[in-house]
């Protein structure tokens, strides 16, 4: 929801980034205010997942230009874990499996780390168990997933639910959902998006990175940005996503290049 007087959570200016010496992001500008939902759409290779990883601080990506301010602070001064504790969350496109660490242990560690940052009490295993089970209901998750290794042997849909469960536990100010819809069947998509909607407030913001319009039927964006070749080439409202669904991406590129040449 757009609120005129809400403050900017995230300000990206002229962001450039490379991976293995190849420039992937070629000047991104984006402002996200609290309460807003932004969708970043684009074809494979347009740089949307790179943007998500750069925001979370993956060290395989080198920032070569521009700035990112998160709640008034220079994001580049923060390590990935400091970004997480400051309230930035990335739901992974491909969540990592960690056999040998129980999901409940992992979730509690993450939760307590972020709680401690906010000067709040940590939960012991028993207290956490009750707390997390409550959160799992939001995503219609079987409590058995607590006892398994982190994402170990989870189906694609189960992994995505587990990501959103982490979002529910960590209550970030800014959540970036990287292709959270991929690999979800229609029922799982409804459950996951319903969970995300319940977590959205006027004080936080969500960036949905997606290839398809499908998820946007459930989580309605305030802004839709189209990325191509490392740039945002068009920004519109939720109806832009529907246009893309029917007309594809080519026309946006053509329009952008025509404007650039004019």
């Amino acid at each position: 929801m757009i609120h005129e007087d809400s403050k900017a959570l995230l300000e990206i200016r002229g962001l450039r980034a490379t991976v293995n010496g190849i420039e992937i992001l070629k000047g991104i500008d984006l402002t996200v205010r609290s309460g807003e939902v932004h969708a970043i759409m684009g074809t494979n290779g347009s740089g949307k997942s790179t943007l998500a990883k750069v925001l979370a601080g993956h060290n395989a990506y080198q920032v070569t230009g521009g700035s990112i301010t998160f709640e008034g602070n220079n994001l580049f001064d923060l390590e990935p874990e400091e970004r997480a504790r400051a309230g930035l969350f990335l739901a992974f496109q491909y969540p990592i499996e960690i056999p040998g660490v129980s999901n409940s242990h992992f979730l509690r560690l993450a939760y307590n780390t972020v709680q401690a940052q906010h000067g709040k009490d940590e939960l012991d295993p028993l207290e956490f168990e009750d707390f997390v089970r409550e959160k799992m209901k939001l995503l219609d998750m079987n409590p058995d997933f607590l006892d398994r290794g982190v994402n170990e042997g989870f189906s694609g849909g189960e992994k995505k639910r587990n990501e959103i469960l982490q979002m529910a536990l960590l209550e970030p100010r800014l959540a970036i959902l990287d292709e959270t819809d991929s690999g979800l069947d229609i029922d799982a998509l409804r459950i996951v998006t319903n969970g995300v909607n319940k977590l959205a407030t006027k004080d936080n913001a969500i960036i949905l990175v997606t290839h398809y319009q499908r998820m946007l039927n459930y989580i309605v964006p305030d802004f839709v940005h189209v990325m191509q070749a490392g740039r945002i080439i068009k920004t519109g409202g939720k109806e832009l996503a529907l246009d893309l669904e029917t007309r594809g991406y080519d026309w946006v590129g053509a329009e952008y290049h025509a404007a650039a040449e004019a």
């Binding site: 993956h58 874990e81 969540p95 040998g100 780390t113 972020v114 960590l170």
Partner: protein, 437 residues
């Protein structure tokens, strides 16, 4: 191992031991005498011996070891901390000597239908006929100095006989405690699982001091037809100690042996595990974890010998090596002529946490049958950066993330220990040990 006629170090070691009282069993005395002879002929292996290529035990020869003194000062609380809640039967040895006051009474084992006793006890005489075909027959000492020394000193030791079709749920805990520096002890175990029986045995080496000493252990397991044995072996010796362990397992028809061995301690440790699938349809699962740091060396040599058809073996060995430590794994799989339809997998996975850490891993397959399924693989690596990033993106510090992943790597083996309290305790130990500040 080659022979020499004189070896002052070994002579002193052999002479250092007080005169052992003779056994009423003539063959027992004979076994010991021939081991003494053999030990006098063998010399300490060097890195020129293929089997000891990566493990230099010359520091062992530089130390002088005294015979262990009788321990009188040890109090129950010193020992009790090592007890396992689940264990119904416990045998405790201190610096190699049997401690009846800390062990469960033999009648408790009898109530469970087991024979559990000390090898030096007079009770052994009544089982002479059962023991004779096995004691010293599986862990041969003809070419093995350490097995010869152990057998030469054969006196106290654990004897476990599980009678036909007896199924014992509670584990048998055999606890070896080191309390004196500069002594050599020669722990010995013999387990005979008669046909159709099932038992879990925990062989546990712990210390109450941080000095240098030698533990030279020999264990023999005999699994008769259809027997099932779980074997947990934990080596938590002092990081100044030398630990030489030798385990020989003989598997009869359709028997099943599962072992998890964990090496945490010792300056230099060497564990040889030889499993012989001596009849059709035998099955073994042999897993190991070495978690070492500083200047420790942990060497594991295993040999799984498929001598008959339709055998199954599974092996996962992991090493976590920090500091300037050095881990060695040599995993031999032998498939003898006629051992058709053998199904064997072996995996060696190694995690190096420091640029100075080192691992030598060598799978060794010798296959002389044509209808077999054998797979093996070895990996040596560092912590995965994607896994680290995932944890950090959830707020965990670099250090916490590294610790957790290191722990997880080892936990896969620890999880296979079928004794809950021991598993928990080791998980805690591994977690503490991998937690570097």
């Amino acid at each position: 191992m080659s022979m020499v006629t004189s070896n002052s170090y070994l002579e002193s070691l052999l002479q250092g031991q007080p005169q052992l009282p003779p056994s009423p069993l003539a063959w027992f005395n004979q076994l010991r005498a021939s081991a003494v002879d053999r030990a006098g002929m063998l010399k300490l292996p060097t890195t020129r011996d293929e089997d000891w290529r990566f493990t230099d035990i010359s520091p062992l020869a530089k130390l002088s070891f005294q015979p262990a003194r009788a321990v009188s000062t040890l109090q129950a609380p010193d020992v009790e901390r090592f007890y396992l809640d689940e264990a119904a039967i416990r045998l405790v040895f201190v610096d190699g000597a049997y401690m009846p006051q800390f062990s469960t009474q033999p009648n408790k084992a009898r109530d469970l239908g087991l024979t559990v006793t000390d090898l030096s006890s007079t009770a052994v005489s009544s089982h002479g006929a059962v023991i004779e075909p096995h004691l010293g027959r599986h862990a041969g000492f003809q070419d093995n100095l350490f097995a010869a020394l152990n057998t030469a000193f054969l006196h106290d030791g654990a004897l476990v006989i599980v009678p036909r079709n007896a199924v014992v749920d509670a584990p048998v805990h055999v606890l070896f405690i080191a309390t004196q520096p500069e002594v050599a002890s020669h722990p010995r175990c013999l387990l005979i699982a008669e046909s159709g029986s099932a038992v879990t045995i925990v062989e546990d080496y712990v210390t109450l001091q941080e000095g240098a000493y030698v533990t030279n252990a020999v264990t023999e397991f005999v699994l008769e037809g259809n027997a099932q044995v779980n074997h947990v072996r934990i080596q938590r010796d002092s990081t100044q100690a030398f630990h030489i362990g030798h385990c020989a397992v003989s598997l009869a028809h359709a028997s099943r042996y599962r072992s998890v061995s964990v090496a945490l301690g010792a300056r230099i440790s060497r564990y040889d595990l030889n499993a012989r699938l001596a009849a059709e349809g035998a099955e073994c699962a042999i897993d190991g974890l070495a978690l070492i740091s500083g200047r420790q060396l942990a060497d594991t040599h295993t040999c799984i010998d498929h001598a008959q058809p339709d055998g199954i073996s599974r092996q996962l060995h992991k090493c976590i090596v920090d500091g300037a430590a050095h881990a060695v794994f040599n995993g031999k799989i032998m498939v003898r002529p006629g051992a058709q339809r053998t199904d064997s997998t072996q995996s060696s996975r190694n995690l190096l946490l420091n640029a100075k850490a080192r691992v030598d891993t060598k799978p060794q397959l010798e296959i002389f049958a044509d209808d077999v399924k054998c797979a093996h693989g070895a990996t040596v690596g560092q912590l995965d950066i994607e896994e680290l990033f995932y944890l950090k993106s959830r707020g965990l510090s670099e250090l916490a993330a590294r610790n957790l992943l290191t722990y997880a790597f080892g936990a896969e083996i620890i999880d296979r220990i079928p004794v809950a309290s021991l598993k928990q305790r080791l998980e805690q130990t591994v977690f503490e040990q991998t937690k570097r500040s």
